[in-house]
C-alpha cells in the first residue's frame, strides 16, 4: 500500500537530484573548455561503446550492401586494391584539376611537390553517425590509436576532404565533418590561389553546404572554381592540397568587407563509408598503411 501512495504522488526528490546532476555535468564540462575533466570518461566510454558500434556496423553492413556479405580475405584484398586505386585517383585529381586551373604553375608545382612524397593513409570505415538531433556532425571510424590515429589528423576519401580527427580511442576515433557548424577549414581557390576560411552550416543532407569567406575582398571566386585545403603547420589538423568542394554562388554586400561564396562539398556526407586518415609514413600500427608508392605501382600495373 505504501507503494500505492508513492506512485500517486511522485516525489520531487528524485527529479530534483537528477536535474541537479545533469546541470552539474553540463557546468563542469562547459567550464572545462578544451581539457574537460570528462575526457578520461569519454575515452573509457569510447573503448566500451566503440567496439560495440564496430560490431553492430559489421552486422548491419551486409544488409546495406549484400555483395559484401561474406567478407573474406579475398574481398579484403579487393578492398585494399580499391583503396589504392582511390589514392591514385585522388593524386590524379590533385595533379590535374589544380594544375589545369592554376595559372601560377610554379606555385602549384610547389604544392604538388610538397605532397609528392604522398600522404600515407590509414584505411578505415565509418561505423557510426551522430544523429541530426544532436546537432553536431560527427562520425566514428573503426581505426584508433592502435592503428596510429591521433587527434588533429586529416580525414579524406576518394572524393575529397571529409574532416579531422577530434578524439582517438584505442580502436575507434571520432571525426568532426567539415559541414559541422563548429568546423573551420583554411581553403585555397584553385584558379588564383587566394585563401579564405570555410565554415560548415551544420547539416549533412543534400543541402549540406559550406560558406567561404575570402581574405582578400578584391577577389571574386568564379563559379565551379575548385577549392583545396590551404594546409596548417605540420599538417595538423589539415594537410594541404586536398580538394574540398566547388563554388556554387557568390555573395557580396557593402556591409561586409569580404565576399562570401557558397561551396558544395565534393564528399557526399550522408553516404560516408570508406575513408583514409593521413598519417606519418613511418607510423607503426595494427593495419597496413596505403602509401603513394603503392598507388604508383597500382597505376603502373594497369
Amino acid at each position: 500500500m505504501a507503494m500505492h501512495d508513492q506512485h500517486k504522488r511522485p516525489s520531487r526528490t528524485v527529479l530534483g537530484l537528477l536535474l541537479l546532476a545533469s546541470f552539474t555535468l553540463i557546468t563542469v564540462d562547459a567550464r572545462g573548455g578544451d581539457d574537460s575533466p570528462f575526457d578520461p570518461v569519454r575515452s573509457v566510454a569510447g573503448d566500451v561503446f566503440g567496439p560495440v558500434e564496430e560490431g553492430t556496423a559489421t552486422v548491419v553492413r551486409p544488409f546495406q550492401a549484400i555483395p559484401e556479405f561474406f567478407e573474406t580475405t579475398g574481398s579484403l584484398r579487393d578492398e585494399m586494391q580499391r583503396l589504392e586505386a582511390e589514392n591514385a585517383s585522388l593524386r590524379g585529381q590533385l595533379a590535374t584539376t589544380v594544375v589545369d586551373r592554376n595559372r601560377a604553375a610554379e606555385l602549384d608545382g610547389l604544392l604538388i611537390s610538397s605532397s609528392s612524397t604522398g600522404y600515407a593513409l590509414v584505411p578505415s570505415r565509418v561505423v557510426a553517425f551522430g544523429p541530426a538531433q544532436s546537432f553536431s556532425q560527427t562520425v566514428t571510424i573503426d581505426a584508433g590509436t592502435s592503428s596510429g590515429v591521433r587527434p588533429d589528423m586529416t580525414v579524406l576519401n576518394n572524393d575529397g576532404l571529409v574532416g579531422r580527427v577530434i578524439r582517438a580511442d584505442r580502436s575507434t576515433a571520432t571525426v568532426l565533418l567539415i559541414v559541422d557548424a563548429d568546423s573551420v577549414v583554411g581553403g585555397r581557390l584553385g584558379s588564383n590561389m587566394e585563401v579564405g576560411f570555410l565554415r560548415g552550416r551544420g547539416n549533412v543532407g543534400d543541402d549540406g553546404r559550406l560558406d567561404l569567406d575570402l581574405v582578400d575582398n578584391a577577389v571574386t571566386p568564379g563559379r565551379d572554381d575548385i577549392l583545396v585545403t590551404w594546409g596548417s603547420e605540420n599538417g595538423a589538423p589539415y594537410v594541404p592540397g586536398i580538394p574540398i568542394g566547388r563554388v556554387t554562388s557568390v555573395f557580396s554586400s557593402p556591409r561586409e568587407l569580404s565576399k562570401r561564396a557558397v561551396i558544395d562539398p565534393l564528399v557526399d556526407f550522408s553516404a560516408l563509408d570508406l575513408v583514409g586518415v593521413v598519417v606519418d609514413e613511418k607510423t607503426k600500427g595494427d593495419r597496413s598503411l596505403i602509401t603513394a608508392d603503392d598507388a604508383a605501382d597500382m597505376s603502373g600495373d594497369r
Binding site: 527529479l15 545533469s22 555535468l25 562547459a30 574537460s36 538531433q133 577530434i166 571520432t174 557548424a181 563548429d182
Partner: protein
C-alpha cells in the same frame, strides 16, 4: 535478481544508443534518426512511473552524451531525458488508456526532448545550433519517433513489466 535487472537495463540502454548511431543512419532522413533511447524512457515511464523513468532517462542520456561520436557537452541529453521521463510518467494514467494516447505521449516526449536538447545547445553555444536547422530537425525527429513507436514501445513496455511485475501493477 537485482543484478539481473541491472544487467538487462544496461543491455537495453546500450543497444538503443548503439543502434541509434550504427544502424539507423542508413535509414536516416536528412541525418535525423529515431531516438530509440527516448522510446525506452517513455516505455519505462508508462509502466513504472516518473521516478524510475527519470533515472532511466538520466542513464540513457548520459550514454548518448558519452558514446562516440558524440561531441557535445556531457549532460545535455541526460537533462533532456530526465525531464521527458518525469513528464511522461506524470501522464501515464491517461497515456495507457489507448494506443492513440500512447502515440500522442511519444510525440509530445520527442518534441520536448529534442527541443530541450536544442535549447540547451542554443544557451551554451555548443555547437552553434542554427535556429533554422533546429526548426527542421525537431518535426522530423517527432515523426520518426512516432513511426517507430508501434514496433518499439509495446516490446519495451512488456520488458519493463516482466522485470518488475509487482511494481508495474501496483497502482
Amino acid at each position: 535478481m537485482a543484478a539481473v535487472r541491472a544487467l538487462v537495463l544496461t543491455v537495453v540502454i546500450t543497444l538503443a544508443v548503439v543502434l541509434q548511431v550504427a544502424l539507423f543512419p542508413y535509414l536516416a532522413y536528412n541525418g535525423v534518426v529515431p531516438n530509440l533511447a527516448l522510446l525506452v524512457v517513455v516505455a519505462a515511464a508508462l509502466v513504472r512511473g516518473p521516478e524510475f523513468a527519470a533515472v532511466i532517462g538520466f542513464l540513457s542520456g548520459l550514454a548518448i552524451d558519452l558514446a562516440p561520436p558524440a561531441d557535445h557537452i556531457v549532460g545535455r541529453w541526460a537533462l533532456a531525458l530526465v525531464v521527458v521521463g518525469y513528464l511522461a510518467g506524470r501522464v501515464r494514467h491517461d497515456a495507457r488508456t489507448s494506443a492513440l494516447a500512447a502515440i500522442v505521449t511519444v510525440a509530445a516526449s520527442s518534441f520536448v526532448g529534442t527541443s530541450l536538447f536544442a535549447l540547451s545547445g542554443l544557451v551554451l553555444g555548443d555547437p552553434a545550433v542554427p535556429v533554422g536547422t533546429a526548426l527542421s530537425v525537431v518535426p522530423a525527429a517527432v515523426i520518426y519517433d512516432v513511426l517507430l513507436t508501434p514496433f518499439v514501445l509495446p516490446l519495451m513496455m512488456r520488458l519493463f513489466r516482466r522485470l518488475e511485475p509487482h511494481q508495474a501493477v501496483a497502482y
